[in-house]
Symmetry: C2
Subunit: 250 residues, 2 copies
DNA sequence: CCCCGGGTGTCACCCAGGTGACAGCGGCGC
DNA sequence: GCGCCGCTGTCACCTGGGTGACACCCGGGG
């Protein structure tokens, strides 16, 4: 029923650097994992609401997306993107109540899962894990605050730039372009849902970014040619704003 | 140095029903409070960033507002409104890092406070408190998700209606109007910051609500005349949408 | 091979709502 | 009393971006 030892080793190695387990000693983690089971969901799978009440899932491989859907006005908004080391459903874990969101597998998803209650006990009993977990919660709250603030104060172009920037690694590929992680194969529709906009508008801004040589042209995957330029857009200092306003007498 | 016993009793009674302490036995709470100190901030006081790193504050009486400010583009956004029973800074408590927000006293603020570290220990050591605290975090996350989703999917009129609705009690005053709590004396500017808009636009929508007899006219404090109507706006079923679209042949 | 479905690229249109401006209003201190 | 200041109420103006529509492109399945 529990995880086979070799797989457990693989998972430990996967989670070691993840925010939830960063400072948890390997031994404790290995012991915890002993109580998990394993599952695989094919891409597109939608989490069943009642299984989210009973089990807490940790992602070993693959990505998941958590969408909120406005009941009226059937627009969607992507609350968060989960990758290896992330778990769901966090909110249910905290308060035990059903969480009205859609969690779905973007890729084939390799998961380990354990009963909610047991998870809660671990949090209570393992001090190192507790500390880590709380600090993970803190980070998540910061992220969410950032998203709200962005939505409330910045325009779509800026939000898009920030979205891309947030997922850009420092690594450079063979052609000297920065690679975008996690969201590089997203459709415009999916990007739009992450910044609270629509596919047409996202397309508009993406074209502008390509035109200005900030994004690499002519390819599906996002690649960044001018990181400096991108972060200027993200902070929308408006580039050279004011220059075209030189008073006539100078 | 610690709280005088009569005041402690007062605080216990104040916190008893609050989300953070709901299920914490009075005895445990009283013992905790023994380690707190007391402070009063006059209205308008801004929390000093470094004191927020060292101490965790609980509100006994009064309200506080937590604002995020977009570094460029100096617009503000009110992340949350805190009342009796709420504590700050939650995020710093969780991850120990400075939290770049402005916390300020809306009213004269009566607080009790304790060192962050001790607070963290209580969370770790008192199981009932831990459970409560985590579930409080869950609620807070739900609220934040709601705010983001609103911002991303609804128009300002709807967001304003929801804001008011969220703060409307079931109680009815002498004239049969529902009273709005916590935000009833806010300026349009302050309301605007809570829904990511501007004072002019908020005013626009407030006038519309008055015109439609949803809000009580001619007075500063918000009072609701037609709760039903308000929640219709909040869910923007668009009222009788469709009625004016009856196909010609019927 | 063609068809189909999902994604992309681009329009033209239009409106919610941001913006600046200005006039009134009430409370407070002098 | 008067002046000040912060707030309210209302304009007129302009624009970012939502919307529907349509053409096109590509990959996979029958």
């Amino acid at each position: 029923m529990s995880l086979p030892v070799p797989y457990r080793d693989y998972v430990v190695q996967k989670f070691e650097a993840s925010p939830v387990f960063r400072d948890v000693p390997d031994a404790a983690m290995r012991e915890m994992l002993g109580h998990f089971r394993q599952a695989t969901w094919s891409r597109g799978t939608l989490a069943a609401p009642d299984s989210l009440l009973k089990w807490f899932y940790l992602i070993v491989d693959g990505r998941a997306r958590v969408d909120a859907l406005d009941p009226q006005n059937q627009r969607r908004f992507t609350l968060s993107l989960l990758g290896p080391g992330d778990g769901f459903d966090l909110v249910t874990l905290l308060d035990g109540k059903a969480h009205d969101v859609e969690t779905l597998a973007i890729d084939e998803l390799h998961l380990v899962y354990a009963p909610m209650d047991r998870m809660r006990e671990w949090i209570r009993q393992h001090p190192e894990f507790n500390r880590n977990f709380l600090s993970y919660l803190g980070q998540r709250m910061r992220e969410m605050e950032g998203v709200s603030t962005d939505l409330a104060t910045s325009d779509t172009a800026t939000r898009l730039a920030r979205l891309i920037l947030r997922h850009t690694g420092k690594e450079i590929d063979a052609d000297g372009h920065h690679v975008v992680r996690l969201i590089n194969d997203f459709s415009h529709e999916a990007l739009a849902r992450m910044i609270g906009s629509t596919r047409q508008v996202v397309n508009r801004h993406l074209q502008a970014l390509r035109r200005d040589r900030i994004l690499k042209d002519r390819q599906k995957k996002l690649r960044i040619a001018d990181l400096e330029g991108l972060s200027r857009r993200a902070t929308h200092l408006l580039g050279d704003a004011g220059r075209h306003k030189i008073p006539p007498g100078s």
